[in-house]
Symmetry: C3
Subunit: 315 residues, 3 copies
């Protein structure tokens, strides 16, 4: 019975330089290319096409040996699979986060994450992971169609229930998906994200369009990205443009992010990488670089830049 | 030397409905049938009948990815075994908790736990697990007799030392045990628990009688329960009755709990289950359902009910 | 790919008696002989003499089931090795801690640790482990010479950057090393430690000389120790003498520690042990016994003593 239990994880540490408001910061940072983590997961074959499994995953800030305050905050789930698909219960990523991650060359991780420009519009709705969530995931045999729907019970949270869902199509070189989330008690926080990629072999361009809305507040973010194999690694770049579309005039802002990097694979499990990212905060914007950036927040209407050089090991 | 180290655990999540004071709460809850946990344990054969081993076990609130504030709060021990029995040092369950759990169909877990009606009489003495504990457990070859004695050093706690012990007899279909604990500095908190079960094959009825005492305060709880195999699972029910026996008139109360459930085994390791539990708080009682019930405390003299439907996977 | 991942650790619990200021304390303590811990580590062969690996290690206070507030505070690192040596990034012991531990019979653990008399001179510089550290370790094939240099980025800490380094020579029976650390922003905290040991077979004597300095404050500690095989275990003793060498007259103190113990190996992985340690605080000194000693601090100019009897299991 123990045979199917797997201990897995990532340790990823980078030397990093960031600059905001004219202040240089040199640091060691965890998760420049992939979030450092430790996990335990397992699957049991119940017979008759039915399977059960669990997944526990804990973030590690490997530069300092700390974890999230909720130890298994990345994921703590139990699932049952069958021909009908998967039913999963616990804490994990909702469908919208999976949707935009799929089309970001760095899966929303590190200095160049597309999430850097995403705003929750002051709602504290949170991007990505929810407690007390139930998901149904479509089975894999639908001729390329895939999808999932989630509901998060919202108990214990002041923000109430959340619902999200995604539909997509992936076959041969193409991948497209649309996902939508609504959460909150009275006024709803709404996130819509559309993504598409096409793998030409020599390069895989992708597009992401994400809007968030909360009452009169609205944000629109476009991302164009590309990943291409190069030597025993891959090079990538992304450009994102965020604009305030609120019907409340005083909050107007514009911001853009350019990010690029190279990942050099020493093996299937180990890589050296470098990332560069620059956010240009126009007007009142104060977007900052993601990750373990020491606390130098950008002033409104300022530039924030970063560079790192790191090593990532999967186990 | 690594070969004897085992990674083990449980992930158990349920959809739950509870009602207290007329308020409905729908939630996702961890540990409806067995407490979600992750553990590491190992045994080494030292030769000459002697063995050494360790056991580390951490609770997981799988609905939200959190743990207890003491990470290894369920158990962190080192043991030496021999023909003489076992000596164990660290943090773990004391003998009295083991004693009443053995006769509760749900081993004091989930909505129907017998512990729901147990009171520590305001002492904060805690039921069950102690830090800084030393136990001696009798060897297994005593013709059915078993037992253990514990002492918890009490350092760092305002409640001082604790002592507990248990003797029992288990052979063929019968199991009976008596356990007693005393803890505290001046006035002692005392817990006595007697249990008996008989496995008729078609059904296994059990009885538990537990009293707690702290100076003039005293509580008496009776439980009658039954577990019976049904299909590829088992059905169980328990009825508990708690009464205040204090010699201080103002605290008088009565309360009862009826709980029942069905556990359907998908395999030896995975089960679906359902539980229903109802506490009837008579007079001034304010007993509540155990587990991750969101904070709607019963008013005195009120009913509290709950129902859940969950899936449990052992690994 | 999973084959190289190892789950390892130590569980070590002792019954302990300590006395300070005339107060007796009986306790159960974790880590009397080796710090209780749980770790996960792995190595991958990248080919061409290159290797990559990770190491995660968490302290366990096995008497109470707690951990450090930074869960992986003992170590969280990623390393790349080659003919050139090792480059390591993350949180781990710096070179000076490794240097004095090597010559302490109890590797700076438990009641008899040489660290008991080491002072950080009020700097909070910390002995031993740093966040955000980069180390280069010399390769093993230098004819007995070994060494390492570290830099800790100091971000997030009010104490700024730290640098440390060590050179040593170990061949046949001899081992000598010198290590130095400097950390801080303006006034530097400086630690110098010299160590030597010679293994005569029948006994291995060792010497440690450590000085710490911070502006006008200075401390000097001498340790003479010996370890000798005895039966299926080993006996050890150490004597340390600490003196204030500050140029500020008011802080003058003297203190000494005598510690001894016996470790009886039940197997290669499991041992019983006993330790006795006595600190004699002369003049204004208030040094205390290390480890989980309940909070009875010595008054200035007083004696502190301790004794424990424990069991340690490595896995």
């Amino acid at each position: 019975a123990q045979s199917s239990v797997t201990l897995f994880g990532v340790v990823d540490v980078a030397a990093r330089y960031t600059k905001a408001n004219g202040q240089d910061v040199y640091s060691l940072a965890s998760g420049g290319n992939a979030t450092s983590r430790l996990g335990v997961r397992g699957v049991e074959d119940l017979g008759g096409g039915l399977k059960a499994g669990f997944w526990l995953e804990s973030r590690i800030n490997a530069d300092a040996g700390t974890t999230d305050s909720a130890f298994w905050a990345r994921r703590s789930t139990i699932s049952v699979w069958g021909d009908f698909g998967e039913v999963r219960l616990g804490r994990f990523k909702n469908s919208t986060k999976l949707a935009y991650e799929d089309f970001d060359p760095v899966t929303a991780t590190g200095l160049g994450s597309v999430e850097n420009l995403y705003s929750d519009l002051g709602t504290k709705a949170g991007l990505g992971r929810y407690d007390n969530q139930v998901t149904y995931v479509l089975p894999a045999n639908l001729g390329g169609f895939y999808g999932s729907v989630d509901v998060a019970a919202g108990e214990g949270s002041t923000f109430g229930k959340s619902y999200s869902g995604r539909v997509g199509y992936k076959a041969n070189a193409i991948n497209v998906s649309a996902a939508y989330m609504e959460s909150g008690v009275d006024t709803k926080y709404k996130l819509l994200t559309l993504g598409a990629s096409y793998d030409f072999g020599v390069a895989k361009p992708s597009l992401i369009y994400t809007t968030t809305e909360f009452g009169a507040l609205k944000q629109e973010v476009w991302t164009a990205a590309v990943t291409a194999p190069l030597g025993s690694g891959s090079v990538w770049a992304s450009y994102s443009d965020a604009a305030d579309k609120s019907t409340v005039a005083s909050t107007k802002y514009k911001a853009s992010q350019f990010a690029a990097g190279y990942v050099y694979n020493l093996s299937k499990r180990t890589a050296l990488y470098t990332t560069v990212s620059l956010i240009d905060n126009g007007e009142k914007a104060t977007f900052n670089l993601n990750g373990n950036v020491p606390a130098v927040a950008p002033a409104g209407d300022g530039r924030v830049g970063g560079f790192d050089l790191g090593v990532r090991h999967n186990f």
